[in-house]
């Protein structure tokens, strides 16, 4: 008997991935009155399990083990597949982060289940999941459905669904589960992790300030960074700026970079090529700052300032500090 919804809740060093709560919120909606189960894999993840209950899980399956301390494909996929086989949920969800995409795809392959990746809308039609996904560089939306029997898998694009607020009055059951693979059965070993420190991840960011060719050089990103810092946001970049070597690839937004959906996206000195638009067009409010009033970015923007970014950005930073600081 298939029933309920299972959500794989991602965490890094005991800190939950915010987009996992969005998946949990969607699980509650899709489950109707049915049970919502969260699965948390890691080491020292008790607090994440408790938060999953406050965010809407009725039950949390916790695998707390040294072999799961760092994300690795084989142990995570083997464990999720085993949990799905054992509990037979009707639906399996996760945030479409890098690990979320890998773990659900791997487990779906093992089970022979249908998977819809990186969806921005999700519903049940006659008991089958139906999803909307941006395709072809975000230029059109594709409507896709699960047709196969058994558990139905989907990963949800971060920030495309609302996250439920934690409710301290909720209670639920925490169940310990054992890992499937022992350390010597795992082919990959994590040797190091160079964490991104002091900066906000583009995927999680509610505000992103991006620079393009118009910043003119590596130093040109200083005013971009200052505004991002004043706003508590992340720094993005266009392909032109990354290819010129002005800023590392991790910051690239667009077709061959990251796809982001912040509340506010400020594009400074970015003309707005179609490939860049593929990465940021789902932002709630887009602000364009460009010298060229004909730049395509103005067609996408809600607000525009025609002017020199080296004057406008510092003025914005000063204004933000004055009002919000």
């Amino acid at each position: 008997m298939s029933q309920g919804v299972l959500v794989w809740v991602e965490q890094f060093k005991g800190k939950p991935q915010a987009a996992s709560w969005e998946a949990l919120g969607q699980a509650r909606t899709l489950a109707g009155g049915g049970p919502v189960t969260a699965a948390v894999f890691g080491q020292g993840v008790e607090a994440v399990a408790q938060e999953a209950i406050r965010r809407g899980a009725d039950r949390v399956l916790v695998a707390d083990d040294a072999t799961l301390a760092d994300y690795r494909f084989e142990p995570f996929v083997a464990l999720l597949a085993q949990i799905v086989r054992e509990h037979q949920p009707a639906i399996v969800l996760a945030a479409a982060t890098i690990a979320g995409r890998e773990v659900l795809a791997g487990a779906a392959a093992e089970i022979g289940a249908g998977l819809l990746t990186d969806v921005t809308d999700l519903s049940l039609e006659g008991g089958k999941l139906q999803a909307v996904r941006p395709v072809l560089g975000g230029k059109v939306l594709s409507v896709e459905a699960i047709t196969g029997d058994g558990p139905q898998f989907a990963t949800l694009r971060p920030r495309a669904f609302p996250a439920p607020e934690p409710d301290p009055s909720r209670s639920g059951e925490i169940v310990a589960v054992a890992p499937v693979l022992a350390e010597d059965a795992i082919a990959s070993k994590v040797e190091a992790m160079q964490e991104v420190t002091g900066t906000i991840s583009l995927t999680d960011a509610t505000i992103i300030v991006s620079g393009g060719r118009g910043v003119g050089g590596p130093e040109g990103f200083d005013p971009v960074r200052e505004l991002a810092e004043a706003l508590g946001g992340a720094v993005g970049a266009s392909r032109a700026a990354v290819d010129a070597g002005w800023i590392p690839y991790e910051h690239q937004v667009g077709q061959t970079g990251k796809v982001v959906s912040p509340d506010l996206y400020i594009a400074a000195g970015i003309s707005g090529a179609i490939q860049h638009q593929a990465g940021m067009r789902t932002a709630k409010v887009i602000v364009a700052i460009n010298k060229d009033p004909e730049a395509p970015i103005f067609k996408l923007a809600r607000y525009g300032i025609v002017g020199d970014l080296f004057e406008v950005l510092p003025a914005l930073t000063a204004e933000v500090r004055k009002r919000l600081g």
């Binding site: 890094f12 084989e74 996929v77 890098i98 995409r101 795809a105 791997g106 289940a113 249908g114 990186d118 139906q130 941006p134 395709v135 072809l136 560089g137 975000g138 230029k139 059109v140 939306l141 594709s142 409507v143 896709e144 459905a145 699960i146 047709t147 196969g148 990959s188 994590v190 040797e191 992790m193 160079q194 964490e195 991104v196 991840s201 995927t203 505000i207 706003l231 690839y249 061959t256 970079g257 506010l264 179609i274 490939q275 709630k284 409010v285 602000v287 923007a301 607000y303 525009g304 300032i305 002017g307 020199d308 004057e311 406008v312 003025a315 914005l316 000063a318 204004e319 933000v320 009002r323």
Partner: protein, 261 residues
């Protein structure tokens, strides 16, 4: 050492896409090598050169994907293989992964399989991880650098870009990796390479050649229709002002009204 790169043609990223009344799309029919695969193919050629090995470029698809294979040959892959069969028509990522995994098993001596991060047309990467699972090999996704590859010691060490930072992972071979654009500067075909590729005979392997079972190719998902993007409300409001300070103050007012600050 034998490295296999898996590729496909996808619609030109610069193409204008329109949704027709019946929910199908029109994109001008201009195909290019999937943009991410240019890095994957280049990496396969660089590795085979560095390790005196062999590089195979593989596709699962109709003859419209022939160009992606020829691109692979033109920049230095030693052989190209196309897998196609009517039984694969309409298969989803699971069937596709089944076919890729079967072709890799048939090749027999493969040490490393390389994919581009995702397919630009259907905007997904799930097939990559599903190939790894079907082969039972390690998956190292989002690789920005191969730090070390020791074929004799059956070991590979890579840097993976994740949301949380750069993870350095060592794994045994064989393995499946997917690469991001930081990994290299894509090679472009030379005139001699293009001529050589044009003359190459590319074998086509059928479902029967690979021993593929029809049940395993059965799709579990279906593409129903396409939709236009929701129109963005209104047009741009250009913030005017005598000075940058004045423009900045007005813009911040608007952003506070919009509740994004």
């Amino acid at each position: 050492m034998h490295v296999v790169v898996v590729t496909k043609n996808t619609p030109d990223t610069a193409a204008t896409v329109t949704v027709k009344g019946d929910g199908t799309i029109d994109w001008g029919d201009s195909l290019v090598v999937n943009p991410w695969d240019e890095y994957a193919i280049t990496e396969a050629v660089l590795l085979k050169e560095a390790h005196s090995g062999k590089a195979t470029v593989l596709t699962v698809g109709t003859d419209e994907h022939q160009e992606a294979l020829k691109h692979g040959l033109a920049i230095g892959c030693d052989q190209a293989i196309r897998v196609w069969d009517g039984a694969l028509d309409g298969c989803d990522s699971l069937g596709y992964a089944e076919a890729v995994a079967a072709a890799i098993r048939k090749l027999g001596d493969v040490d490393l399989v390389i994919f581009g991060r995702e397919l630009a047309d259907i905007a997904t990467d799930q097939h990559v991880y599903q190939v790894a699972r079907k082969l039972g090999w390690t998956m190292l996704g989002y690789v920005a650098k191969i730090q070390a590859l020791d074929v004799a010691a059956r070991s590979i060490t890579v840097n993976r870009l994740t949301e949380y930072g750069t993870q350095t992972v060592r794994s045994t071979l064989p393995a499946v990796i997917s690469v991001v654009k930081d990994i290299n500067e894509p090679k472009y075909p030379t005139f001699i390479g293009i001529r050589k590729a044009a003359k190459a005979e590319i074998p086509v392997w059928s479902a029967a050649d690979l021993g593929l079972d029809a049940a395993a190719l059965q799709p579990r998902t279906q593409q129903l229709r396409y939709q236009e993007l929701p129109k963005r409300e209104g047009t741009v409001e250009i913030i005017e002002g005598a000075t940058a300070q004045e423009k900045a103050a007005k813009l911040i007012d608007r952003l506070i009204e919009e509740k994004v600050l």
